[in-house]
């Protein structure tokens, strides 16, 4: 377990300090939210109805950003080989990477989103649901992203490949997450969407860890 937490601490530190880390995800997320009204027009009613989806699309795109950083450098500089020698099963190495990626992207987005809610005229009642849905859903985005990143680790500059692999698999979270927020905004009970989001999220974290670990094993020839 000590290795597990040490690994999380290391990756979070790297994620905060390295360029393209946590700050970049947060700024990117905020920028999408700011750019949306410029594309959609300043009409408050339009923004209100579009805001649940926009927040979730912004979250999907922003979590993609840090993904290359969590696997690729370790493969290149040999850290991965050392991790494979450690007694910690590779599935837990993958889980540690998912958690540290989430701490430096999903968690920050979750904290940032309520502050940005007024920009898109999201109704006040829906703000807690937005935060809750992001809190439940973003770990899954990191998990699926980590699996895609591990698959793409053998690809030079695989950023676009990574996006193409991860985004279709993220669709359930986009649907359940934005539906929950939209329901909260129209005063419908969002519990069903949130529980489905939670269920899918749990599946994704398990499948994502296993798939990422299996893909990391690809790199030994």
């Amino acid at each position: 377990m000590r290795t597990f937490f040490a690994l999380i601490r290391r990756d979070v530190t790297l994620g905060i300090r390295a360029s393209g880390g946590a700050a970049l995800s947060a700024a990117f997320f905020a920028l999408i939210v700011v750019l949306a009204p410029l594309g959609l027009g300043p009409d408050m009613a339009t923004l209100k109805s579009a805001s649940p989806g926009l927040f979730w699309i912004a979250a999907l795109l922003a979590t993609l950003l840090g993904l290359e950083r969590i696997v690729q450098p370790d493969v290149e500089d040999g850290t991965l080989d050392l991790l494979r020698l450690s007694p910690l099963p590779l599935e837990f190495v993958a889980l540690a990477k998912i958690i540290s990626h989430w701490l430096t992207s999903g968690l920050i987005i979750t904290i940032l989103a309520p502050a940005l809610a007024p920009l898109l005229n999201l109704s006040l009642d829906a703000v807690p649901v937005l935060a809750l849905s992001l809190l439940i859903g973003t770990p899954a985005l990191s998990a699926i992203g980590a699996a895609a990143a591990a698959l793409g680790a053998s690809v030079q500059r695989g950023g676009m490949v990574l996006a193409l692999l991860a985004l279709p698999l993220n669709i359930p979270f986009l649907i359940f997450g934005s539906t929950a927020v939209a329901q909260a905004q129209t005063n419908t009970d969002p519990t069903q969407a949130l529980t489905l989001l939670g269920a899918c999220s749990l599946i994704a974290v398990v499948v994502g860890s296993i798939a990422a670990a299996t893909s990391l094993r690809l790199n030994d020839d």
Partner: protein, 243 residues
């Protein structure tokens, strides 16, 4: 000879070579027959008129879109468990074929949607999940092309196909929950098909034709892939040969 004997790539290629012309010939014959039955002999729909005839091209293509992904995932699972190279070859060869069937289903669906629904595209659950399936095929093909080392690409592609197969039901379910407009199933139903016989027969002929076509194309592509692999290993062998 037991079936497993054909797991030898050499023997498989020989069998595939002798089967291909027969399969290709019967696929073309069945396609022509199915199209004739569907486009000329089957009665027009009482509501949709002749526009419903696009069904004979569209519906089996949509079936194939899912069936081929299933085959790909199954082949990947076999490759994953028994590490058999032919299974990888089959999965790789299936992807572009499935991708084309999916594109065919989408395009014919759009052509039908314009006169019937009044729009080329609606964000309905089935349309959306087929579109996503199309992107998953693309992702798989791109991954194959993106990784230069073939040995590594093989293993990455296996994992992607399997993760995709786990996710497809979840995506399907979430999209269904999201929105539904497309008509329900009318052939595969517990109480038997609700579609009339004169329309069902051309549909089934087309479905069989597509399947035979898939088999023929698959064998051709697999043979090409086996030949390419052999070429690669011969080339590698020449490079390392002492002069």
């Amino acid at each position: 000879m037991p079936v497993l004997a054909y797991a030898n790539p050499e023997r498989f290629a020989r069998l595939a070579r002798s089967l291909t012309p027969w399969l290709l010939g019967s696929a073309v014959g069945l396609l022509l027959a199915g199209l004739f039955l569907g486009l000329f002999l089957a009665p027009p729909d009482y509501q949709q008129g002749d526009a419903a005839r696009i069904m004979y091209v569209h519906v089996p293509a949509a079936w194939m879109a899912m069936f081929v992904y299933g085959c790909m995932a199954l082949a990947s699972a076999v490759a994953f468990i028994w590490k058999h190279p032919l299974a990888d070859v089959a999965a790789k060869a299936s992807a572009p074929i499935g991708c084309i069937f999916t594109a065919l289903a989408l395009i014919t669906g759009m052509l039908w949607g314009k006169p019937m629904w009044g729009a080329w595209w609606v964000w309905d659950a089935r349309l959306t999940s087929v579109l996503i399936l199309f992107f998953m095929y693309l992702g798989y093909i791109v991954l194959w092309n993106a990784i230069e080392d073939p040995a590594r690409a093989v293993r990455a592609a296996r994992i992607l196909a399997l993760v995709g197969a786990i996710n497809i039901p979840i995506i399907k379910f979430s999209v269904d929950w999201w929105n539904t407009l497309h008509q329900g199933a009318s052939v595969f139903r517990a109480d038997g098909p609700s579609i009339t016989g004169s329309m069902l027969i051309p549909l089934l002929v087309m479905a069989v034709a597509y399947n035979v076509l898939y088999a023929a194309l698959l064998l051709i592509r697999m043979r090409a892939e086996i030949a390419e692999r052999r070429l690669r290993s011969i080339r590698l062998g020449l490079e390392f040969e002492p002069k």
